[in-house]
Subunit: 328 residues, 2 copies
């Protein structure tokens, strides 16, 4: 098994797509020691790719935007990996997401790699797997890694913790406007794309968004990147309109990161996020294993809690005390 | 603060709806010590409500089904609480989910309590908050608590861990059929509702579902409830059609739980789930606090990982070792 992973890592370093695909399956399917081995081996050679996050509600055209951005990057000769993360999809690996068919313009292009990913093997799900998949793509030598994810739950916060530049996509006519969009998107956006801007309501959506950004600016939190005001670009991705402007905004943000020291802050934040996710997954696995092997302590705690003899908080205290005392 | 929560708990015991609503806000917004206080105080009086989970993809008519089931239960004079959990919604508390307007038939009925919930204050999100909200509703004395949740991510597994009986709702014409439905739904379903059964494709959907259940039965896992084959009920919830049949299937499952000892197994599983979620949230909070207060160890680890001098798995090991040594 160790040899197998070593072969894949060597294959990745020779630029083999098949080895890359199989390493991403290791990230996705888990197997704690294999994954650890892969990430530890590849980590020293990461940190070179630009990671772009694309997030937004279903139906705003994230895939089309991602495709259009990838086309722009390919036009400059940059290699691009696209990681499509769908927290609501059971599909992954070989099976492509439904809207991945739109990516077919790239299918014969060796400079583009497309992979969809679902959470399978990990208790921590995609918040655990996504940053590690991004590391594998980074180590594979892609100039740009685009992580596209549906903004549900905490996913947009998680993509922002992994990306250098996060694009939040909105669209008019989604029935909700910005007010209904999650408050979280304002915090994570480095660039806004108002896609489907040829449809009625694009102007109103932009005004609402500007209003909310100004309100947010007035109560600016300490964590906001100094001196960066997220630009709002109106795009019609399906026709490639204003994608150059969107690309310009991404590049400008890249320069901003370099010029202000904000990049260092983000690299550090990403490291912190990754350390925490890995440590949490370790704890989750330990708890899950305890449950599986009928640990006497957990068994006793569950019986007492089920019988209403002990409240679940007091039981959790006992469990944690035992774990910290090296009891498990 | 303690007095405040004590007052709310006393109010809940007197049947005050306002106290119930405010206690659910405590569950939702967090504040570790307040929440702990509430759950520990109420826990001994829980365990009496029947908890019914309703899950399925967006658009299958979960809210309408939930409404129709609640109407049936009210017709028997049972009191009903509905907890609508939407992992993708930023709304909660006073603000109702969009489709809650359909519930207006119940708005003047004191025997029905409806609450929508989003994850706000907790790192563990809804998997942490939902079972505790169900406990509060249980303690409030409702005969039935219905937890309705969109099946994204792990949410359907989580609702099943909290419910006595889990209804998985499907609908024809969703473009995907059962194959595309998440594999997880087969494992968690006690009852299937094929809703919108007046639309084309209901028969095909039922055949596909039966086929998948038979396949699953052939490779039956040890965890499956003995002797229970999930019935498939075709409903048209919007017109109240076959809701009595659905209700009959739920009642039959309730009897099955009582007759086979499966209820005890589920009560125990629920206790285990809750203990683990609370312990995990404690660990998450500890990691989050470390990051906020510039803990010297985490600071050093993040710097070394950011600089590629240390891989994130080795850093997580150091963090966990320090925590277990009582270092934080």
């Amino acid at each position: 098994m160790g040899v197998d992973v070593e072969d894949l890592i060597a294959g990745l370093r020779r630029g083999e797509r098949r080895a890359l695909a199989r390493l991403l399956t290791v990230v996705e399917d888990g197997g704690e020691s294999r994954l650890r081995h892969v990430v530890a081996a590849l980590y020293p050679t990461t940190g070179n790719a630009r990671v772009i996050g694309v997030t937004g509600s279903p139906g705003v055209g994230k895939s089309t935007l991602t495709n259009a951005v990838a086309t722009q990057l390919r036009g400059r000769g940059r290699s691009v990996a696209i990681l499509a993360v769908d927290p609501s999809s059971p599909f992954s690996g070989g099976a492509l997401l439904g809207d991945r068919v739109r990516m077919q313009g790239h299918h014969a292009d060796a400079g583009v790699f497309i992979r969809s990913m679902a959470s399978r093997g990990h208790l921590g799900g995609l918040s655990f797997a996504t940053p590690q998949a991004a590391l594998v793509l980074d180590a594979a030598g892609f100039d740009d890694v685009i992580i596209e994810t549906v903004g549900v739950g905490q996913s947009e916060v998680e993509v922002a913790a992994t990306a250098d530049t996060t694009i939040v996509a909105l669209a008019p006519g989604m029935g909700d406007g910005v007010q209904a969009a999650k408050a979280g998107i304002l915090e994570v956006a480095d660039v806004f794309a108002i896609n489907k801007a040829d449809q009625p309501g694009a102007g109103k959506l932009e005004s609402e968004l500007r209003g909310m950004l100004e309100m947010g600016h007035a109560t600016e939190d300490a964590d906001a990147p100094a001196g960066w005001w997220p630009p709002i670009i109106r795009t019609v991705a399906v026709r490639g309109e204003e994608i150059d402007a969107l690309m310009g905004a991404i590049d400008e943000h890249t320069r901003h990161l370099d010029d202000t020291g904000e990049r260092d802050r983000r690299v550090r934040r990403r490291a912190l996020h990754l350390i925490r996710e890995i440590a949490l997954e370790h704890v989750r696995l330990r708890f899950a294993r305890l449950g599986q092997r009928d640990d006497p302590l957990l068994d006793d705690l569950a019986t007492r809690v089920a019988g209403r003899d002990l409240d679940p908080y007091a039981a959790a205290d006992e469990l944690l005390a035992a774990l910290e005392g090296g009891g498990a």
